[in-house]
Each structure stands twice: as C-alpha cells, then as structure tokens.
C-alpha cells in the first residue's frame, strides 16, 4: 500500500485517537488535556508533511470505501484543503491550552466531553478539507454539525439548550432542504460527484437548472452564514468562549466558506460562474450580508454578539473575494480565511480573558480596562486592527488583495462596499479600544467588594495565568507575522491565484 497516500487518512484519524486518549485519561487531568494537545500537534505535523506534495497543484488521495457506484468516499488533499486543515489544527492546539486556563482541569465529565468533542470536530473538519467529491463532503459536513452540537449546548442551561437547538435546526434544516437536493441535482445534471478544477458540468447543461443548483448550494451551506441563513451564529454564542473561539471563528465557519469556494471553483468552475452571472449574484448577496452585519454590529453592546456579527460580515468578504473571479480576489479570500481565523480567535480569547478577570460581557463595561488588563487589550487591539484591515496585520494584506481583485474585476461598487464596511468595523472596534484605554476605570466589579462602597475604590483586577494569556498572545503574534511576511503563504497558494 502506498504509504504517502495514507497521510490524508492519518490526518483524519489522529483526532479520533485523540478523542480516545481523552476518554481513557478522563480521570487524570491535566493528562487528558495534554493528550488533546499532543493530538493537535500530531495532526498539524501530518498536515505539514503534505505541503511539498500539494504546493504545485499536486494532490494526495486515499479512497476509504466505494460508497456508491462511481462515488467513493475519497480523501484528496490539495492546496486549499491543506490551508484549511493546517489552520484548524494549529488553532485547535491553542484553543485546548486556552480551555485549560478558562475551564480549569477538574476531572469533570462535561470537560471530558468537551475535549473529546473538540477532537472529533477536528476530524470532521479535516474530512471536509480533504473531501474529493460532494458525497464525502456532505458526509463530513453533517458529521461536523452533529459533533459540534454538544459543544454549543455545553453549559446545559435552558438558554444554552435553546441556542443549541437553533444551531442544530438551522444547520440540519438547511443541509437537508437545500444542500442535499443541490448535490442530487448536480449528479443528475453532471453525472459525477467528483471535484474538478474548472467545473464538472457539461456544455449542454440547462442554465436555469444550474442557477437553481447554485442558489441551493449557497442556501444549503448554512455554515458560511450568508444572510438570510445566518442567525444560527449569534444563537450559538451561548457556548462558552473557547467553543465560540474555535468553532464560530475557525472550524465551523471556515468549513462553510471552504465549501462555497469548492462549489465555485471545483463544481461550477470560474468560467461557468462568470458566464451565468452567478459571480454577480454572489457579489450582491455577500455585499448585502457585509453591510447589514456591520450595521447590526454597530448597535450591539454584547462583546460576543459584536464578534458574531463581525464574523458574519468577514465570512462574506472571503466569499466575495472568490466571486470576483480574479486571481487577486482569490488570493485575498484564502489569505483572509487564514488571517481572519487567527485575528478573530485572538479577539475571542481576549473577550474570554476579560470575562474571567472581571465577569464583564458588555462593551460599555470596558472603560479603562486597558490599564488593568494590558496584555489582553494589546491582543484585542491587534485582532481588531486586523479585522478592520489596518497594517501591519494580516487583515490589511487580505483586504489589499480584495481591493485589487475588485479593481481587476472592474467591480467599482464592490470598492465602495468594502470601504463603507471597513469604516463601520473601524467604528465599533475602535470605540471599544478607545474606551478601554483612555477612559478612567470607574466601574466596579458586579457583586465585588466595590459594589456597595465608593465607586472610586477599584478592586484589583489581574490577568488570568499563562494558560489564558499565552495562547492569546501567540495568535496575536501570528496575526502580526502573517501581516509583515505574507510571502510564504502567498507562495503556497499560488496554484489558486494563477
């Protein structure tokens, strides 16, 4: 058997072993958590070994089983898949470390479930990243839905269960109502499920049907949170911060965008998307989502809510980049997929750190907190700058490419959309930062010693230990590094950007 061909399978199985280890070590924390971290590192290493093989457009494939005649369950790693898998794997490691600091390491069964589900989430993410055809993609896509449900409803409170139910209803509902028919119709029309750069539809396909299929795909891939299928994302914010950080800034939403990119590039192909004006359709939908989400975030005070709507907008940036159908647009999209993951997870980590230190969850409660939690707010600032798109962060580079892509495509309206939304996100992020750094810390801890006494007597607030601060600073550093030296990543994805 071809050993090199096994690496995609290995990448899929490492987290499954990780889950088994977590379960076996359930009575021995922190060995349980360390098991998860080692699995994450191992997964990253496995994904990294594929880099040389895929960098010039090569693939590594492995057939798991003949699922249906002509439709195997097949894993095939290519550039795009490795980008998604690598990002998810390394951020899984950081999240696990962060979760040790956030939840502590009690031998609590709910924490064992948390870490085991986290492992399996990674397995499903890798499965999506390396899917060679629509059937395999659908299999892992739905598996991701099921396995993340316990994470969303982690707290077990009625509120958490309500949020989880909404999450599940949206994901399963859209998956079955739109994605499944889209896949079936694709097969009826194309006669194959296999991804192929350049598209799989024949020249004599009915264009009406193709448009219907495309729209079904956009509606069915709920994980990309394109409006109006977005409201699961804010609902899922009932999850604890480490879950939101990994799932709703990285794994789940990236999978959504990734699926849309796959559909555009490898099911329809850029040419067909352009011919049928589907690119334009996508641009309109994503632009609307970007603007509405930005305006909505402006009105919110809840930090996680702001991040949720900011994420909805940023995901549409990525899809917009691909829909521009220009090389720079694609470069911007993929760069933003990676960069946004690191930036947004930094912001989530910072929000979690603020919550741990002060039990505050609202933006209006953060006055002067920059002096009490300097490291947290430095990380927050880096993440925010990146999301706004200011140098020297990765967000700037990604936005630069998106602007160039819009010019290349001659889409001047998109330039306006991007500018307006940049201004809006600058408004809501900079407002938080200004208040955190410049205002005097007058508010006291709710329920703390200063609550009843004079408001001037501020209680001491300090950062939570290294396990919380470390991952946060690490992801902030990557956000900066990718901004200063994006060359290697750009070089790696040159197959996509032509």
């Amino acid at each position: 058997m071809d050993v090199a061909g096994m690496t995609p399978l290995l990448a899929l199985l490492v987290p499954v072993f990780g889950a088994a280890v977590v379960w076996l070590l359930r009575h021995r924390p922190p060995a349980r958590e360390i098991g998860g971290i080692i699995a994450g590192l191992a997964q990253f290493a496995v994904v990294a070994t594929m880099v040389p093989a895929v960098r010039d457009g090569g693939t590594v494939s492995f057939t798991l089983s003949t699922f249906l005649p002509g439709a195997p369950i097949e894993l095939r790693a290519d550039t795009l898949g490795v980008v998604l898998a690598g990002t998810a794997a390394i951020l899984w490691v950081f999240t696990t470390i962060y979760a040790m600091g956030y939840f502590g390491t009690a031998p609590d069964p709910s924490l064992t479930r948390f870490h085991a589900c986290l492992c399996l989430t990674m397995s499903a993410t890798i499965g999506v990243a390396f899917s060679a055809n629509l059937i395999t993609l659908y299999l892992f896509y739905e598996a991701l839905t099921i396995i993340t449900y316990p994470l969303v409803a982690h707290a077990g409170t009625p509120e958490a269960i309500r949020g989880g139910r909404r999450y599940l209803a949206y994901q399963l509902g859209a998956g079955i109502a739109f994605l499944l028919p889209a896949i079936v119709l694709t097969y009826v029309e194309a006669g194959t499920f296999d991804f192929d750069p350049g598209g799989i539809f024949g020249p004599d396909s009915s264009s009406v049907l193709l448009v219907i299929i495309y729209v079904l795909f956009l509606l069915g891939i709920a994980k990309a949170a394109l409006m109006p299928i977005h409201s699961w994302l804010p609902a899922a914010m009932v999850a604890p911060v480490p879950v939101s950080a990994l799932l709703h800034a990285v794994a789940v939403v990236n999978v959504g965008v990734f699926c849309v990119i796959r559909v555009v590039l490898d099911v329809f192909g850029s040419d067909l998307v352009g011919e049928l004006d589907l690119g334009l359709l996508t641009l309109v939908a994503t632009s609307a989502t970007i603007l509405i989400a930005s305006f909505y975030a402006l009105r919110l005070d809840n930090l996680k809510g702001i991040l949720a709507y900011s994420t909805i907008g940023q995901l549409s940036y990525m899809m917009l980049g691909v829909a521009l159908l220009s090389p720079s647009g694609r470069a911007g999209a993929v760069l933003h997929l990676v960069g946004h993951s690191f930036s947004k997870i930094t912001l989530f980590f910072a929000v979690g750190s603020i919550y741990l230190a002060t039990h505050r969850t609202l933006a209006s409660e953060l006055r002067g907190i920059g002096r009490q939690l300097p490291l947290t707010m430095i990380a927050f600032a880096i993440g925010a700058l990146s999301i706004i798109g200011l140098p020297p962060t990765v967000g700037f580079v990604a936005k630069y490419f998106l602007f160039v892509g819009a010019v290349e495509a001659g889409q001047w309206v998109i330039l306006v959309v991007l500018s307006v939304s940049t201004l809006l996100s600058a408004t809501y992020y900079l407002r938080i930062l200004r208040s955190a750094v410049l205002d005097a810390p007058t508010l006291s801890l709710p329920g703390g010693p200063g609550d009843a006494a004079q408001p001037q007597r501020t209680p001491t607030v300090t950062e939570r230990g290294f396990l919380v601060v470390g991952p946060m600073l690490a992801t902030a550093t990557v956000t900066l590094l990718l901004g200063i030296a994006p060359g290697r990543l750009l070089d790696f994805i040159r197959v996509l950007t032509g």
């Binding site: 089983s65 005649p69 002509g70 079936v184």
Partner: protein, 510 residues
C-alpha cells in the same frame, strides 16, 4: 432466466434447511419444561439459522442476476405447482436479516415476556419459518402458502402477548386486512398461472413458477388486472397509504417483538420487487405514476402525523409508513438508482426500525410508558440507552454516516431523474423526519425529568447492551460501506430495470 442449484453451490438444500430448522427447534421446545433451558434452546436454534444464513451470503455469486441455491421438487404437477426455492440479488439479504431479527426478538423477550414463554418462543420460530419461506419461494402458490402461514403466529403474538388494552382488536384488524389482501393476491396469481396457458411454448399447461412466468410474460394489454390485484395485496401489507390503518394499531397494542417483524421486514415492498415488477412490467411502468403519487403522499402524511405523536410507538408506526412511501417512490422511478435505493432502504429499516422499537421497549420496561408526558431527562440516568437511541434516531433521519443515508440518497437520485417535482416534495419529508425525531429525542432524553420512575431508571443491562451494540454498529458500518450491500442486488436490479423497459442508463458497480 436461469438458475444455479444448491447442489452445485453448497452441496445440500440450504434454503429448505433454513426454513425447517426453526420447526425442528419448535419441536425440541415441546419437550422442555424449564424456562431457562427453553430460552437457551430457542436462542441456540435462532443463532444456528443466522449462522447458516451467513453461509448463504458467503456463497452467493454477486455478478449475476441468476437465481441461486435453487431446489425444486414436484408438488402438484397437473396444476403446474412445485416446491421451488431460490434466491437472487433482490431477496438473498432478507434471509439473514430475518434470522438476525429473530435472534434480537428472542433476546429482547428474555426478561420482558413472562407469560407462557414456551408458546411465545414457538410462535416466534413459526414466524421465522414462514418469513424465510416468503423470501425464498419462487413458486407463486408456495409463496402464497407461506404468506398465509405467517398470519397465524402474527395473530397469536399480537393477541396474547400484546401490551396494549386494545390488542384483541388490533390482532383481528390485522388479520382481516391481510385476508382481504390475500384474496386479491390469490386471484392475481391464478390469473397469471392461467394466462401462461396461452403463452407460446406452454403447451396449454398451467405454471405458477416465477422463473417460467418471467420467461414469457403476459401480453402488455392484459397485465392491468393482475397489476391492480397484486398491487392492492402488497400495498396493504407494506403498508402503503391509504391502506395503512392496521399498522398503528398493531404497533401500539402488539408486543415489541411482533412490531419488530412488522416494521422491520417490509414484505409488501418486497412483494412489489419480487412479483409485480418482473411479472407485469408493462403495467407497472404504465401505472408507476400512481405508485409514485401514493408514495409521496404517504411520505408526507406519515411524517406530518408522526410530528404530533407524543408516543414513541405511534410515532414509529407513522415513521414507518413514511419510509415505505419513500421506498415506493424509489420503485416507481424505474431506474437502477431508485430500485437499488429502495432495496437498501428497506434492508436498512430492518436495523433502524428494530433499534428504535427496542428503544421503545427498553423505555416501556423501565418507565411503563413511551409517552412524552411521562419522560424527560432519561439521558442522565441511562446514558448508554441515550447513545443507542441517538444512533438509531440519526439512522431514521438518514444522516450521512448512517445506514439511512445511502438508500434515501439513491432514491432521491432515481426519483429526480424519473419525475423531478415529486422528488422535490419528498425531500421536504427528510426535514420533517429530522424534526419529529429530534423533538422526541430531546424531550425524552434531555430536559426536565417528568416522572418519578425516570429518576430511578437503570441503564442498559449487559444482554441488552450487546443487542444494542450489534444494531448500532450495523447502522454505522452500512452507512460507510453501503457498496457491500448494493453489490448483492446490482446485477438483479439491472436485469429488472431492463425488464421494465426503462431507457435510463444502467449503473454498474466499479
């Protein structure tokens, strides 16, 4: 249509052995007094049948549409009757499925059936004999004999060991419905046998042999009457909407064991595949739209009613009606995907329905009710039961990665090709299925504990856990490796599609 004899393949009449081994076990049970020994002997007999059916699976040639393991003895030669048994790709896997379900039912009755265990086990084994006979007979009248034979143990099982207060009525209703169908079935079969007389090469003789009749089908113009007679009989058995009213009654008031057979072995759908489609193909193709429409209506009706059922057993009976509708939609698409999907779906239901009914049984035993009003929070007290239920429920939804998915997916593929808009309606049911299944699961297993009994519930015992694991593993393995099952039926299905004169392309296995 040719056949390979059992003598060539295994050297002994394996199908007859499978049919009559349960009878031997029954006789042995007659001499045993001790309850403990009784159950063990019955289980041993059932396991032996299961093992032997595995031999059937192992020896089966998958590349051909030929009938296999055939054995034929003269019966009433003047009337063209013979004792003729054989299996092909359509029927072969139903034999091990039946054998497995019998083992499951005997295990499930271990602690739950206290009343007259000997008679109960004998009835279950009698059912096994009749069911395997139904799946392996290729003589129409022989099939009919086994078909009728099945009524007796079914009636007794519902009437005597039913758990509902209305069990007597449910049993009677079942038998009367089936007898009505049987009358139509017999007339249809006789018309087929008599019709053969005028076929070229018959020499004026009667024949009730499936293989002979397939060789010289009725003229397209005179297939209509036979089609409607047989379709009525099998639609009643399936049950296909609007002939389903016996089903909820039997599932609600009958014992779990009988429910497993009624919901797990889709003999009505099998009847369509075995007799209606090959023997009156032109009529089936012509009236296929009717089957498709009834199928879609059933799919929607079953799912909508299931949505408002607070009781798991009633919910499952309507879910079953909905699933049968989907299978019929697959058959009516007349192409390989649709047929393969339908066969896979009904095999899968053997596992999924059984698993769900066992869940219902486990809950019934522990809480005394499967009504949501009495449940809630079960997962805290019985996590293993909850996990088993979750796998079964996900299988019922047809989520990818479970055995529910491939069948459903293939049916949608076939149906979209054959009649686009009907398939689009059928898709909506999958969402409804997800809704009723998840709502029930969440309210029964999560949430607030609503009765004292739930609070003291114990989790699965070791013997129950073994059954649950076997079914759960089957649901997941078939979800990932459906090609193994589809390989058995593909040659026979391709042959059947050709018979149906469909112009759609034939899918062949790689």
């Amino acid at each position: 249509m040719s056949e390979i004899t059992a003598a060539e393949q295994v050297g002994f009449p394996i199908l007859s052995t499978l049919i009559f081994l349960p009878v031997v076990t029954m006789v042995a049970l007659g001499f045993i007094r001790s309850d403990r020994v009784l159950r063990r002997v019955a289980l041993g007999g059932a396991v032996a049948v299961l093992a032997l059916s595995m031999l059937l699976v192992a020896g089966f040639h998958t590349g051909t549409a030929d009938f296999q393991f055939a054995e034929q003895l003269p019966w009433v030669e003047s009337m063209g009757l013979s004792y003729h048994l054989a299996v092909d790709g359509v029927s072969v896997l139903f034999v091990p499925l039946t054998a497995l379900l019998v083992v499951v039912v005997i295990l499930a009755s271990w602690t739950s059936v206290r009343h007259q265990p000997k008679a109960h086990l004998m009835a279950v084994l009698a059912f096994e004999t009749a069911a395997i006979g139904v799946f392996t007979s290729v003589d129409l009248i022989l099939f009919f004999v086994f078909w009728e034979l099945m009524l007796i143990p079914t009636y007794v099982l519902i009437k005597v060991w039913g758990i509902g207060p209305q069990r007597g009525r449910a049993a009677l209703r079942y038998v009367l419905s089936m007898l009505l169908g049987s009358a139509a079935l017999l007339v249809g079969f006789v018309l087929l046998g008599v019709g053969y007389r005028s076929a070229p090469g018959s020499g004026g003789a009667l024949s009730f042999d499936l293989l002979v009749l397939m060789g010289s089908p009725l003229p397209a113009g005179s297939q209509g009457a036979v089609f409607f007679l047989l379709a009525f009989a099998f639609a009643l058995k399936a049950p296909l909407f609007p002939f389903h009213s016996w089903m909820p009654a039997a599932l609600l008031d009958g014992p779990i064991g009988m429910a497993v057979f009624l919901a797990g072995l889709k003999m009505g759908v099998f009847g369509f595949l075995r007799f209606v489609m090959p023997l009156v193909p032109d009529a089936f193709a012509r009236h296929g739209w009717l089957i498709a429409v009834l199928g879609v209506v059933a799919v929607l009706y079953g799912a909508l009613i299931a949505l408002v059922q607070p009781d798991l057993r009633r919910l499952l009976s309507f879910a079953s009606i909905s699933h049968v509708g989907l299978a019929m939609l697959g058959l009516s698409s007349l192409n390989a995907q649709g047929l393969q999907g339908a066969i896979f779906l009904i095999l899968n239901l053997g596992f999924v329905s059984t698993a769900l009914l066992l869940v219902a049984g486990f809950i019934q035993q522990r809480v005394g009710s499967t009504d949501l009003a009495a449940l809630g929070g079960l997962a805290q007290r019985a996590p293993a039961l909850a996990a088993f239920a979750l796998v079964a429920f996900l299988g019922a939804i047809g989520l990818p990665g479970t055995s529910g998915f491939p069948g459903e997916f293939l049916i949608l593929l076939g149906a979209f090709r054959a009649h686009g808009w009907l398939a689009a309606i059928a898709v909506t049911t999958v969402i409804l299925t997800a809704a009723y299944v998840l709502v029930y699961f969440e309210r029964a297993f999560h949430g607030r504990v609503r009765s004292k009994v739930v609070g003291s519930t114990v989790d699965l015992r070791a013997s129950e856990a073994i059954t649950a694991t076997v079914l759960g593993v089957m649901i997941i393995v078939l979800g990932f490796f459906p090609a193994a099952v589809l390989g058995f039926s593909s040659a026979s299905v391709d042959d059947l599609v050709q018979r149906l004169g469909s112009s759609t392309t034939v899918v062949t296995t790689d």
